[in-house]
């Protein structure tokens, strides 16, 4: 036992002290946060400057009904179209503006002209088009004899408030957010099973190709070495997770605070840029409240069971797969030879991982989903995806029990092959060879 602790200690410390460990531990949350911040920033502060749209309205009915947006400020022009075009050229340098020419017979032609000194972004065109469409539609409806009151009543806006019936009664179920979180975690499990499983395999190959293995196993049993390595690297993984979660949460908190703060500031500072009195405050605060509601729903997720299951399934899945990875490592002389053995190990994980985006989410209580979340090779991902949809207790217990039996099984098999494999050099192992090794005595 004491010797296993020594091995765990060595495996753990040599890895944690590596520069690459520090790098990935700090860079990955930063990368993740960076992405998150960028998306957040782009979504909120679409950096496009406000474009002034001078409107020459020959019909005289439209211009005053065009409302400003974040990026467009409509100004009714008092000049003639020709005059305005010349002005655009002149102003080009200091103030980018466009000219919208609405003909007198707009209601019949439904065509307008837009003059610009440079190519317009598609977004500007769409916005103007949509606004004109709305106005023309209202006019058409009015012409058809429908009054304004009826019209506003006709505006519908459906939102689904999802309530889940549970024993305690109704409760808000923020399924969307919960699915997001457990999706994220199952991707994390998928990646980390590979990442750390691979490290176990590489560690075994390293010892084997260094020939240090014979020195070590003249002091400890091969099984102790294998287990010590698996646990040591597993602890490295857990350490990394904890650091990632801690760093992510603190970075995220900081960035969210900065984002929301600056967003409010922006709402005030941008308004003078538009030279009209029309305010853009409403849209901004609306977006703010949307973000807040997302943050709210992320906060309301019941993290306990999800994180608990994540930890259980990560540990179980890791032990199950890393034993197999150790086995592969012991059977080969170099990393390039691992291919033939890797495929059958990766398949169940990859299969579940790919299905999790379609079948598991669409039909989380179907029989495929059930089996994927019960079979030990696929359950670490399968079950994690299903959890937000509510999984009966007995299934959870069954799945975890099978996972435990599964990893004891793979560890047993792997250990028997490992103890022979690590001393075999220069022999290309086949599956038949592995079975032979498994049968060797003592």
């Amino acid at each position: 036992m004491n010797k296993i602790l020594l091995i765990i200690q060595r495996e753990y410390l040599t890895r944690v002290r590596k520069r690459s460990f520090l790098l990935t531990t700090f860079l990955i949350p930063l990368l993740f946060i960076g992405m998150y911040a960028t998306i957040f920033y782009v979504a909120l502060h679409n950096d496009e400057p406000v474009t002034t749209v001078y409107v020459v309205d020959e019909s005289g009915q439209i211009a005053n009904r065009l409302t400003n947006t974040d990026h467009l400020a409509f100004v009714q022009s008092t000049q003639s179209a020709e005059q305005q075009k010349k002005n655009l050229e002149k102003e080009k340098e200091e103030n980018h503006a466009v000219l919208l020419l609405i003909p007198a017979n707009i209601h019949e032609t439904q065509t307008v002209e837009l003059y610009d000194t440079e190519k317009k972004g598609i977004q500007t065109l769409r916005t103007i088009e949509a606004k004109l469409n709305d106005i023309l539609k209202v006019d058409a409806l009015k012409a058809a004899g429908i009054d304004l009151q009826t019209l506003t009543n006709l505006q519908t806006d459906v939102t689904i408030k999802s309530k889940q019936l549970t024993v305690e009664g109704e409760k808000d179920s923020s399924v969307g957010a919960a699915i997001g979180v457990s999706f994220g975690l199952s991707i994390l499990i998928y990646l980390s099973l590979f990442l750390y499983g691979n490290q176990v395999m590489r560690g075994v190959i390293e010892e084997k190709s260094n020939r240090v293995i014979e020195v070590v196993i003249s002091s400890v049993k091969p099984f102790q070495l294998m287990l010590g390595k698996i646990i040591g690297i597993g602890l490295v993984g857990v350490t990394q997770f904890i650091l990632w979660i801690f760093l992510s949460v603190s970075f995220m908190g900081a960035i969210s605070a900065v984002m929301l703060g600056s967003n409010e500031g922006l709402a005030i500072t941008t308004s003078p840029a538009t030279n009209t009195e029309q305010s853009i405050h409403p849209t901004n605060t609306e977006e703010n409240s949307k973000i807040q509601s997302v943050l709210e729903s992320i906060k309301t997720i019941d993290y306990g069971p999800i994180l608990g299951c994540f930890l259980l399934y990560f540990i179980g899945g890791y032990l199950l797969y890393s034993a197999l990875f150790a086995m592969v490592g012991s059977a080969v002389d170099s990393e390039t030879e691992t291919q033939q053995f890797m495929l059958p190990i990766i398949m169940p994980l990859l299969f579940t991982y790919m299905l999790s985006f379609s079948v598991l989410v669409n039909n989380p209580h179907g029989s495929l989903a059930f089996w994927l979340s019960i079979i030990p090779f696929t359950s670490p991902i399968g079950m994690l995806v299903r959890i937000p949809f509510g999984v009966p207790m007995w299934q959870l217990v069954l799945s975890i029990t099978l996972l435990i039996i599964g990893f004891i099984g793979t560890t047993y098999i792997a250990a028997r092959i490992y103890r022979v494999g690590i001393l075999m050099y220069g022999k290309k192992a086949s599956y038949r060879e592995l079975i032979k090794w498994f049968k060797y005595k003592g």
Partner: protein, 307 residues
């Protein structure tokens, strides 16, 4: 010290050890010889409890081999290996602790060996920064750090330059005179004759020779002598079957003969025949070296099926 009883080890298609028995006495240097693939490494691995025999047993000081004996054995494998990225000091502490030393004990002994072998500045170096010979030295220290009663050295001199080979040889002799029993597996026969008290020869999974070096050499005496004498012409052969001349070399007035004496005669009979004829200068019995015995035994017992 170590009694090996009727060990059989079978791998799927071939038998690595076939009913091998031998006894290794305490305080001796025991040479384990044999061509490549004879089964030496299999036997060593069984003694180290890396693998277990299919049948037979190994007794360590009269007890069946068990995990507690691990700390009493030091093993230097033929294929050396250390963790490349680990610092030498940490690495030796780790290996020492795996053998049951405490951290402080290990550190102290490493310091002692580092001083002894002129390696003081190596503590913080990594293995990959050392030359091959230097790595071998580290490996040797790792093997003897826990002061084992039984030291198993598989080709201990390979990779050493003559200076360091000598250094290691002296360390081995010093350990042995301090009471450490040594099993010494090698192909280098000259070092066997220099170091070993006792040898065993394994060939094709079987032990074919076992005994003290002197006895074995005696057993392989072939009654051959080298005689140097001064004379004017060639030496006439005796009428009786006293001896036959294997080779004869005449340089100026000096003749060197290698003679095979007949089975029932002795060197004295030969001398009494020669003395009246020549002036004797030098007489030497040709005792086969372990090298010759090795070659003879191995080639004699070639299994026709295996080639």
């Amino acid at each position: 010290m170590l009694t090996i009883d009727n060990i059989v080890k079978q791998y799927a298609t071939h038998r690595a050890l076939d009913d091998v028995s031998m006894t290794i006495e305490r305080g001796k240097i025991f040479g384990l010889l044999g061509p490549n693939g004879a089964g030496k490494t299999s036997l060593i691995r069984i003694i180290n409890q890396i693998t277990a025999p299919d049948s037979g047993q190994v007794l360590f000081d009269g007890e069946v081999l068990q995990p507690k004996h691990i700390s009493k054995i030091g093993y230097l494998p033929e294929e050396r290996g250390l963790y490349k990225k680990m610092r030498i000091g940490d690495q030796l502490v780790y290996l020492g602790r795996l053998k049951g030393l405490s951290k402080e004990e290990a550190k102290q002994r490493i310091q002692h060996w580092f001083e002894k072998m002129d390696m003081q500045s190596w503590w913080d170096k990594k293995v990959e920064d050392l030359s091959k010979g230097m790595q071998q030295k580290v490996q040797f220290v790792a093997t003897v750090l826990h002061q084992p009663d039984l030291l198993i050295l598989d080709e201990p001199f390979s990779g050493f330059d003559p200076v360091n080979a000598d250094l290691i040889k002296n360390e081995i002799l010093e350990l042995n005179s301090g009471g450490t029993t040594i099993i010494f597996s090698t192909h280098r026969m000259e070092s066997v004759e220099e170091l070993c008290h006792h040898i065993a020869l394994i060939h094709q999974a079987k032990k074919i020779l076992d005994g003290p070096v002197k006895t074995i050499k005696n057993n392989y005496r072939e009654n051959k002598f080298k005689i140097t004498c001064r004379n004017q012409g060639s030496i006439p052969l005796p009428e009786s079957n006293l001896f036959t001349i294997i080779s004869q070399q005449i340089i100026e007035n000096q003749t060197t003969l290698i003679v095979q004496i007949a089975a029932n005669k002795s060197i004295n009979d030969v001398l009494s025949y020669l003395i009246p004829l020549v002036e004797l200068q030098h007489l030497e019995e040709l005792i086969p070296s372990i090298h010759d015995i090795f070659i003879k035994e191995v080639t004699a017992s070639v299994n026709p099926n295996s080639y």
